[in-house]
Symmetry: C2
Subunit: 323 residues, 2 copies
Amino acid sequence: MKLSDASVLVEGAIKEMELPGGDLAGLYEPISYGLSAGGKRLRPSLVLMAAEAFGGEAAVKAAIPAALGMEMFHNFTLLHDDVMDNSPMRRNRPSVMAKWDVNTAILSGDTMLTLATRQMMQVPDSLLRTVLDIFNTMAVRVYEGQQLDMEFENRDNVTSEDYLRMIGDKTGALLGASAQIGALIGGADLKDAARMEQFGMLLGQAFQIQDDWLDVYGDSNTFGKPIGGDINNNKKSYLLLTALASGTPEAEALKSAMEMPAGDSKVRVVTNIYDKLDMSDRVRKEVAHYSSEALKAIKKSGLSEEAREPFKAMIDKLTGRKR
Amino acid sequence: MKLSDASVLVEGAIKEMELPGGDLAGLYEPISYGLSAGGKRLRPSLVLMAAEAFGGEAAVKAAIPAALGMEMFHNFTLLHDDVMDNSPMRRNRPSVMAKWDVNTAILSGDTMLTLATRQMMQVPDSLLRTVLDIFNTMAVRVYEGQQLDMEFENRDNVTSEDYLRMIGDKTGALLGASAQIGALIGGADLKDAARMEQFGMLLGQAFQIQDDWLDVYGDSNTFGKPIGGDINNNKKSYLLLTALASGTPEAEALKSAMEMPAGDSKVRVVTNIYDKLDMSDRVRKEVAHYSSEALKAIKKSGLSEEAREPFKAMIDKLTGRKR
């Protein structure tokens, strides 16, 4: 199943979801609002795609609750992340925190986490413990990744290895668990499901590194965020950490450039340094490396070339957005 | 098993709990801190007491992880409640929010919820779905109770029935689920376990109404909070709601008194009105009613008089703190 077809199924399932209202609308409306914001629906789509790859069409239907559970978990983290980052906007709309208030974002977020767990429980008894163990382990990794991400802002000794671990936890784990749980619902054995987990994890890392690349070399029309945002915020992106660790005169120049006030001039200076270090090519190669490892993982899972095709297309789409 | 003995076991189990440290100490230290704050350990103790009542000593050991899970859930709600209420203190120490910051209280709280779920999963496969269903249903009720509690502050039409539902959700559900899950781990059938749930729920309501009574008629040396706090905050306590609904001239006088600035004078005036309405006796009778219903529920569960004794003592202790 193609990503675009899977995401249509996900949108439909989200629209059909019924939540309590009445005097509890204040708790549940922000949940519906958060879930209705759209986005790529990568995680739930990956659940459905993996279920179909191993179990065919019947497995897709069986995997819908787990797909919703993954999307609800993701949205729970967005509600809380927006509070932690004090972000008034999310996907071109006011964030829950801004549209309601901080307390609502916290409490409705908590509720989403428990509702997500309930969704995950709609698997046969034979899978229940396995699926919940994967889900909880993933959840803890996401919290740990968020913690590291917040701490990186105030740490001077962050390496690109630290960064890869952090995005593995914060982004990779959820994509990994989505692919793994979908595969299990589709009837994959534990070994093949673990390979699908690897696929999702590596895809998440490729995607996140690509996102850092787009911040510098992307097309502002398709990127969805202003170019140079990471540069202006001195964000410890993969590009910045790799360049700083290069031991070159450019690394020193970069340290000075980081002291510049935010603005177009700073973006130009830093981009110029990145160019001298050939960062664009180096980072694209890194993305290609993670993508190729992701494909290897999926190949080991024993899926036919035809069954692997949608996952390959998904990688291409996510890592080649500006082409 | 007596409450005091159970709480000693709980304290021991909490001390033995190991959490990750290293570069993740920023996430896990606030969790240890929250859990180490002491308190009555009512919820986990109730898990152990119910397990023993139905399954003897062996069941107590088997119930320890679930007991810890309930305490972790409770502490997760405290971390988030303190953010929502902007409370700098908790059990005579700085709250996690105050000692660290709001973001830490949110993220460490999220982590506690997932860790709590993991604790609950340490039951045999035959109980897994049942226990998690009870746990998740309880969790949603707690969120709903917190939502209602926050909304009551800004609502003018809150009735004592609304209030009883709210405390049933916010306080009763967690005590109910603790007794129910403990009973199941002890080998109780679903019916008897449901009666234990009723016991815990009614105990929670009795306890909360008693707490409102103590705010007015308690002994400041043993209450742990200043007397009259609810009065000064115009908190929609059981006493206030019942008095306002009395349709008496005193109800009108009470409305005027609510406009008074906070202070000893306001506490005296409101207490005087409550006295005229005989609120102390009326509320004590209500507490006695809930306590007696709680005892009836436990009697139906088929436990012997001897096995019921610790629960009876628990009610006496929780509802007769000033005697």
